[in-house]
Symmetry: C2
Subunit: 464 residues, 2 copies
């Protein structure tokens, strides 16, 4: 019987070409102009799941983009793994900063990816990592080594808040019943330092609009006499952090789950080089909340970042205008115990309260999700740990991620099962950025490691 | 011999239609996409000046857009009036806020313009006001009533800093020699309260760029750990005003010409209704520097306004990104004695000095100009006063404007003559804004008043 490694070597080219075809479709869920491409991508996923061995695959309609659901049930008495992933991608802009077009995948070698990396929007987040599971299933079915039941749930709105997924999960609890949820939508520390993400931050995403005069004004005739919405917006945003970069929204930290000295000490063991970190980003120094390390600031601490700002004249040349309106998109990353709906409400009331007379402020809540922590003593985590040991020859490090997968906490609530986050990307893969890429080695290593998880999970489960 | 009034009534329709044709050309100097339209406009001005009676008209090439120069010299011993205006216009955006397309002029009645107003970009600033002078010349030549020599200098870069004009004036001092410079590029208090602008603010316009990480980053993986260029930019801009809305740039106020109690008391006599002011702009209250009235804040006090700001994701939907760069266009209105180049240098060094580690800041000076004050005892002012008395039946009020016409102080320096600012627009004409318009009554009243200025100026001049 073939080992995963030899099977992968034999089919390597095809595995890469199939992914490259998938990456050519601009499935940008945030921009309605790409609606047809998003839907087309769901069709491609359906076909690939059937080819990989699923007994049935459906494209399930939702209020938003469809969810591709597939399953292969080999024995009701065996455990069931539910694989989650998403087929939508982030917008590629600023497109001009890409070295190659975001939807024309190319494989290039990089310092961290000597065997080459696939450059394309979605290559790592999440088409590439999701497709590892499809190919892992193909290997297990084609070689008669699928040890348990498997279900796939691949959505198309992860980058815009997964609203339809929540709707779908709440209505399909039986269909989605499982013993463990497996997701590859995170990263690992390095190719020689495997890690499993045990924590995710929550998210609250809002858009704010500041309106001053009812029309754009000549900055000479009115300058100095009326509140300039852009100046006011900068004042309001600036006031959201104090001199120690603590967030000033009253009540913001009330529910924050503070880690113990021991936990922080354990975290501090993870390898980190400030020199490499700042060098990789070409910044002179790191910047953040006083009293916390860089690894803590981007994982166990809540944050507030402006993701976009615009107002007034932003074209070529000069325009001496006082804009009528100014806007910003602001997101807050949250930590365990912070409720995203409560934080959104706190932000809204605070931001509206600090607006001076002379402007009107509107805060539009966009989307959000709760933070999550996976216990490392769970069956799933134990199986994942063994799987990495089998393919990497090393015990993976449990790590908290600063990112958010809003639906993970929803899964636990609705489906009563734990989620295992087996990510094979690297922080430097530039997800959400120009030149996003995913290592060929990582892609194939994922396909090799996933079947090991099925194997060990089934084994551990049978012993319960 | 025909009076101006009857001549105007007779040719009213044609005067309006000629202006409307001129307004249809989108001569946007700030946007190179409209280059051909700007140049075409110069040609139209040339033709109209020849038709109006100029002996010679040339299109003078410059490093930038051409300057239309025309003249009619009737007697070397008579005084010469130099008319300045500009044929370029501000960009029309935000276009979606226009009730009718900015370059498809329509005449509509408004509360302040019961006889109708021409709605189009440039109708008031400055095509409409500039064209009043062309039609006034036509009247004077056609009726044999031109009392002195006249020169026209109409440029195409006023909205972007008049760089080529400076270049041109410095090289053509003899050609442009004159006894008074006449400009209609300002406003008056109301149709029943004629006023002459005696002061203009200076300007310093800069663009700033804040760069953080070398690429856009995922706000989850990096949020809280690196300086977010947009957050930093808002902090830096917010810090430019203190709690009393004084500008915090060291040395900014050092050269400011403070007005005496008497001057401020005289200014306070100009009619002003805060209720009407705030109502017209739909704002709850005015906003500005502590210790000064609204009329002072927008005329005798320097200001700092953000004219545009942009960075990160500003498209539809949400993107959880930390942008690599954030930008703003910032302009400062200056008052007499402040040197715009010195202020620009002060801004640059201060803004760069307040940047925290972790971002790089670039300040690009854009353009600027000095403030200006016209003495009311000058021949030109006296002649203008009589001209308004003749056509409005009222003595005009001298008023300081908050706007800037950067080249006025250059004229005085290079051409050694005073400038008279006879403006016929209203503050509510929305120049630089959507739905810019110019009253039909104001347009015709200007054509009627200008010949009176020529008459009285020649008369007063002969008595010297």
């Amino acid at each position: 019987m073939k080992s995963a490694h030899s099977y992968i070597q034999e089919h390597k080219e095809r595995f890469l070409n199939e992914l490259i075809e998938l990456l050519k479709i601009p499935s940008i869920s945030a921009d309605s102009a790409y609606k047809n491409d998003v839907i087309k991508t769901a069709e491609v996923i359906k076909t690939s799941l059937l080819k990989a061995g699923c007994d049935t695959v459906e494209i399930c309609e939702t209020p938003g983009y469809p969810i591709v659901y597939g399953e292969k049930i080999i024995d009701k008495n065996l455990p069931t793994v539910l694989v989650y992933g998403h087929y939508d991608v982030q917008p590629p802009d600023p497109v001009e900063l890409w070295d190659s077009p975001p939807f024309e995948p190319v494989i290039k070698k990089t310092e961290l990816h000597p065997q080459g990396a696939i450059f394309a929007r979605g290559s790592c987040d999440d088409k590439g990592q999701m497709y590892m599971h499809v190919k892992a299933l193909e290997y297990m079915t084609n070689t008669g080594q699928l040890p348990c039941n498997v279900k796939f749930m691949i959505e198309g709105e992860e980058e815009v808040g997964s609203e339809s997924l929540s709707w779908f999960v709440e209505r399909n609890q039986d269909k989605l019943s499982n013993d463990v949820i497996l997701i590859s939508d995170t990263g690992m520390i390095a190719n020689d330092i495997p890690s499993i993400t045990t924590g995710l931050r929550g998210l609250s995403y809002v858009e704010v609009e500041v309106t001053g005069p009812n029309r754009d004004l000549h900055s000479g005739l009115y300058g100095g006499a009326v509140a300039n919405p852009i100046n006011i917006l900068t004042k309001m945003i600036a006031s959201l952090h104090d001199e120690n970069n603590h967030i000033t929204i009253p009540g913001f930290y009330d529910e924050v789950d503070e880690l113990s000295k021991e936990e922080r000490a354990k975290m501090a063991e993870a390898p980190f080089s400030k020199e490499n970190y700042t060098k990789a980003l070409a910044i002179e120094d790191v910047y953040g909340e006083a009293g916390y390390t860089t690894n803590e600031r981007n994982s166990i601490r809540p944050t507030l970042d402006v993701n976009g700002i615009w107002g007034g004249y932003i074209g070529e040349g000069a325009k001496t205008v006082i804009a009528s309106k100014a806007y910003a998109k602001i997101s807050m990353r949250l930590v365990p115990n912070q409720d995203w709906k409560k934080i959104t409400a706190l932000f809204k009331s605070h931001f509206e309260s600090i607006a001076p007379k002379g402007v009107k402020v509107v805060v539009k809540p966009h989307h959000g999700g709760q933070a999550y922590v996976t216990p490392i003593d769970s069956m799933g985590y134990q199986a994942a740990e063994k799987a990495y040991e089998a393919t990497f020859g090393k015990t993976p490090i449990p790590q908290r991620s600063g990112g958010s997968i809003p639906i993970v906490s929803l899964f636990e609530k609705e489906l009563k099962s734990k989620t295992i986050l087996m990510g094979f990307g690297l922080d430097s893969d530039a997800i959400h950025s120009p030149n996003e890429h995913f290592g060929v080695w990582n892609y194939l290593k994922g396909i090799e490691t996933i079947p090991q998880f099925y194997h060990y999970f089934t084994e551990i489960h049978s012993k319960q």
